[in-house]
Symmetry: C2
Subunit: 196 residues, 2 copies
Amino acid sequence: MPMIVYGDSRSGNCLKVKWTARRLGVPLEWREVDIMTGFTRTPGYLAINPAGQVPTVILEDGRPLAQSNAIILHLAEGSALIPEDAYARARMLEWMFWEQYSHEPAIAVARFRMLFQGLPRGELDPKLVERGAAALARLELGLQASPFLAGDRLSLADISLVAYTRWAHEGGFDLVSYPATREWIGRVERALDITD
Amino acid sequence: MPMIVYGDSRSGNCLKVKWTARRLGVPLEWREVDIMTGFTRTPGYLAINPAGQVPTVILEDGRPLAQSNAIILHLAEGSALIPEDAYARARMLEWMFWEQYSHEPAIAVARFRMLFQGLPRGELDPKLVERGAAALARLELGLQASPFLAGDRLSLADISLVAYTRWAHEGGFDLVSYPATREWIGRVERALDITD
């Protein structure tokens, strides 16, 4: 039985799993979940993920796993997507935890408010906009220093961060001031065969 | 030169690093940082951590590393604090990413508002209180199933989650309804020799 992914195709967190599996040649069965219908709050879904979030995967042996970054770390163990050097690996993890704490809660949430809830840009919480701009500036600084986040090669940090950065404009963030970030997005999309 | 930790002793994120290093016998030099003075926004500090957050460590070889969970994962590589079993290790990471996304931003932030900013409990954002209660309920569910978060033994997931859970009352959250969580806090504090 291949791995089953419960995911919403409009969610960057879910696409991280799809891209990582494709890159590694891991077969998966994608089960499309519309996060706006309340399905993730049904007893059946909460039984596999009590946090009620997507993505959740059911591994080949039937055991569930949640949290996008934990899932891709599990899938990619022993692969070239995780640097062999201990410090580069630690920096990759630093970026991945930063993504979930400082980037996703601003960049993805602004997009959710506008795209899913129909809020005009001008009505976004100014603190959210400020946090998003700070996250993009910090990312740009990192990408001015190296072509990929954890050094010279693509790693899970790039997969994790590109997911919502490439959609930042849908949350009203203009990437025109972040040239290193824009070049990096193209580089990562090409490496992962992201065409949509 | 031992590892240097820039940390605020009132920050659970910083104490994770102290406890992990002590457990592993890794020497460290603690440099106390008061997060309320603006020191983490000075050019000198931003040069070692552009995100301006604590903790940041300077490793033995002089290279910086940030994000509490990335730091403890780096310190504990190859130790008994990281399960050997691949699935247990993935679940440990699931809890650690969940901590930074769903637990810390509610439990630690409520405490920050009350303890550092002097806000009365009744003036906390109701959504913050709701998110914190949901996080504690989800944690309790996990701890009803096993004595430690990633199975039968102490792991980094316990260190990560206990940091702010043991202080939840300082953010106005009463743990009386969470008996498995209270027992687990005692178990983890004893295992880590936390006496303060």
